[in-house]
């Protein structure tokens, strides 16, 4: 009898993950044949059988973390009986039972308002926004959506599904028919906890060691806000309402977060939590110091409502009347020093958020616009990101989406 054990692939390695089993218990294996794929914090590799025989029971499941030296399975000689392992390879105290592979991004979902008619064992593995299916991959769609698409002559290709798992539903077809783009439909956000992969743990540890508890990095973008300032002025002229550019930015950020759940998140030692709702903290200066009242579900509120709410909250903040639930629970924070004429600045992340957006002043500047040097209203924003969660490209994608909303501001008011 031979044993397949979790190998030690480097001095620092204490455990590895079983990514997948190539062989089932009872399968015949040849010497040198790959039996399982494992993942360490550096590499993925195949474990090969060291003897010929029949594979015994799996002592660890796919996705399990197994300490170095832990037995994953036995290879049985002919006639040898398979004994039930005395204990699972994952039983050792160091193991992390819920870690799963990046390959499947299997997700443990949590939500306070779970539909209790839904069995616990069948969570919809919703990933939002839905990844675009690869070439030839089946696109999920409701029967009605397919029938409507046929009747209306709309191709499902290129339609972004807004339902669970990217399912294309009737509303998406209607939207596609009326010329709306994929982005017009807001993806559904769901609360979920993503267990840390070995790679993510390593990134987090190394970055934290180098730059302190939160490894910050900064992304600056220069938005054209000519249309936004114009719309704001028109709204003020028509309604007489007090609406600031900042109020529009709150809504724009909230909507952009709907497309980027990995920014609407928090870091935990074992997992990253993506929040199912969007709550925007807004830094307000008071004589005593800075506080961040929260606009809850800002993605669902019109700009006018945000304007009214933030003014009421700011007044309360200045009078020290804010209640805890009015300044706790943000999922993202924005800070604006535009009113002080600051062109651009960097803000410090407001934990447990993983990013903060620093908004500079909107200013008229000469810029090249449609191949002419013209005067346009511009605004610089700087996003501070927690690198443990938000990598550079993720932050940049978020700013790209945000730019779409800010530079096409009708999308903020329709």
């Amino acid at each position: 009898m031979a044993e397949i054990i979790m190998p030690k692939m480097g001095d620092a390695m204490t455990e590895g993950k079983v990514v997948r089993w190539y062989k089932k218990p009872g399968d015949a294996v040849k010497k040198g044949e790959p039996v399982a794929e494992i993942e360490t914090d550096k590499v993925n590799l195949d474990l090969e059988a060291e003897a010929e025989g029949t594979l015994g029971a799996h002592a660890a499941n796919e996705g399990d973390m197994v300490p170095v030296g832990g037995v994953l399975a036995k290879i049985l000689a002919p006639g040898e009986k398979d004994e039930e392992p005395q204990r699972r390879a994952t039983d050792k105290k160091d193991s992390i039972k819920h870690t799963t592979g990046e390959y499947h991004e299997a997700i443990e979902q949590k939500g306070p308002r779970r539909d209790r008619t839904e069995p616990e064992t069948a969570p919809a593995p919703a990933t939002t926004p839905a990844p675009s299916p690869a070439e030839g991959e089946r696109r999920r769609s409701s029967p009605l959506a397919r029938r409507m698409a046929r009747d209306l002559g709309v191709s499902l290709e290129g339609v972004q599904g807004s339902g669970p798992n990217g399912r294309i539903v009737a509303a998406d077809i209607k939207n596609a028919k009326s010329g709306g783009g994929g982005q017009a439909i807001l993806p559904v956000l769901e609360s979920k906890t993503i267990p840390l992969s070995a790679m993510r743990r390593t990134i987090a540890k190394r970055l934290a060691e180098s730059t302190g508890p939160i490894p910050h990095f900064y992304l600056t973008a220069d938005f054209d806000v000519t249309n936004l300032t114009s719309i704001r002025q028109q709204l003020i002229d028509i309604t007489g309402a007090k609406i600031s550019l900042n109020d529009f930015l709150i809504r724009a950020v909230a909507l952009a977060l709907r497309h980027h759940p990995n920014v609407n998140a928090s870091w935990g030692d074992d997992a990253i939590t993506q929040h199912g709702e969007v709550h925007i903290g807004v830094a307000v200066a008071t004589p005593e110091g800075l506080i961040t009242p929260v606009i809850r579900n800002a993605d669902t509120k019109p700009v006018s409502a945000i304007a009214t709410e933030i003014r009421a909250l700011a007044d309360k903040a200045k009078n020290r009347k804010l209640k805890p639930d009015e300044y706790q629970g943000s999922t993202f924070t924005i800070s604006s020093l535009g009113a002080w004429g600051i062109e651009e600045f960097t803000a410090i992340i407001n934990p447990p958020n993983v990013a903060i957006l620093a908004i500079g002043a909107a200013e008229s500047r000469p810029v090249v616009h449609e191949k002419q040097v013209v005067i346009r209203d511009r605004m610089k924003v700087t996003m501070s990101c927690d690198h443990r969660v938000v990598d550079g490209a993720i932050g940049a994608e978020f700013l790209k989406t945000l730019r779409g909303y800010v530079e096409q501001p009708l999308r903020l008011v329709v």
Binding site: T117, P143, A145, V169, V188
Partner: protein
Amino acid sequence: MSEKSYRDAIREAMMEEMDRDPAVLIMGEDIGVYEGTFRITAGMLKKYGPKRVIDTPIAEAGMVGTAVGMAMLGLRPIVEMMTMNFAIVAADQILNHAAKVRYFSGGQVDVPLVVRGPQGAGVQLSAQHSQTFESFYAHFPGIHVVAPATPADAKGMLKTAIRGRDPVIFLESAALYGMKGEVPDDPDFTVPFGKSRVAREGSDVTIVSFSRMLQLSLIVADKLSKEEGIECEVIDLRTLRPLDMEPVYASVRKTHRAVAVQEQWKPFGAAAEIAANITETVFDELDAPVARVTGEDVPMPYARNLELLATPHEEDIARAVKKVMYAHG
């Protein structure tokens, strides 16, 4: 029309039919001298005497077996179960005899038998006395299964049951006995089996239910309309066997979404049957999978707080409606 309770509607139906047809009689535990545990048979012993209002021993199999024999020989017995939970003891008589005599006799012998009584949770009767049985009986050919949601339906369908040729399981909701509603005064008012009705019109989501959960669904529909502008169409199945799905299909063709609501446990329940029928027949109309709202998969707890948690709540129905609408936030 006059306003009557569900309880009085049932008693009136029985008394009117006993006045109309001397072959009709009722038997059960504590229904005569004691006038019924839920007081459905109040005054009946006095009026019709012990030959037609028969107090039985605590022996359900014997009661139903006797009644099957009476029915085969031309009488029209009504057997009251103190609760439908006790009818389990008589399941062999109901399912293996009453439901099969016509078949076995080559159509020569009918069994015009009504087995009626309360079922369901909500009145703190704990695990053995709070169950619902519609899917249990509706599984079997040879019997009708009736579950009225209103006093008018309770009266009209009980009269149809008593006048018919077939064995009928008549499931009353213990929690609805006190509910009042308009009931037609015509002594020949009957409600046919196998005719679902649209209890509330709407355009956004179809809710399918029956008995007490129908009433809960109507409350939710009104609330969603007022508070969120969601218009639910609510369909009352009234009878589980025969099952009339046509109004449901018509509604789903309009709303493209459906929620099935039942008090019973989720596995193999009426809601599953409804969902499967919708999927088989109007699959191309669906914009979302049919959602089910059901009781929790546990024996019914006695404690009031736990009983409330184990039975479908208004919020569960509202959540299911929003789920099939892909509504959030």
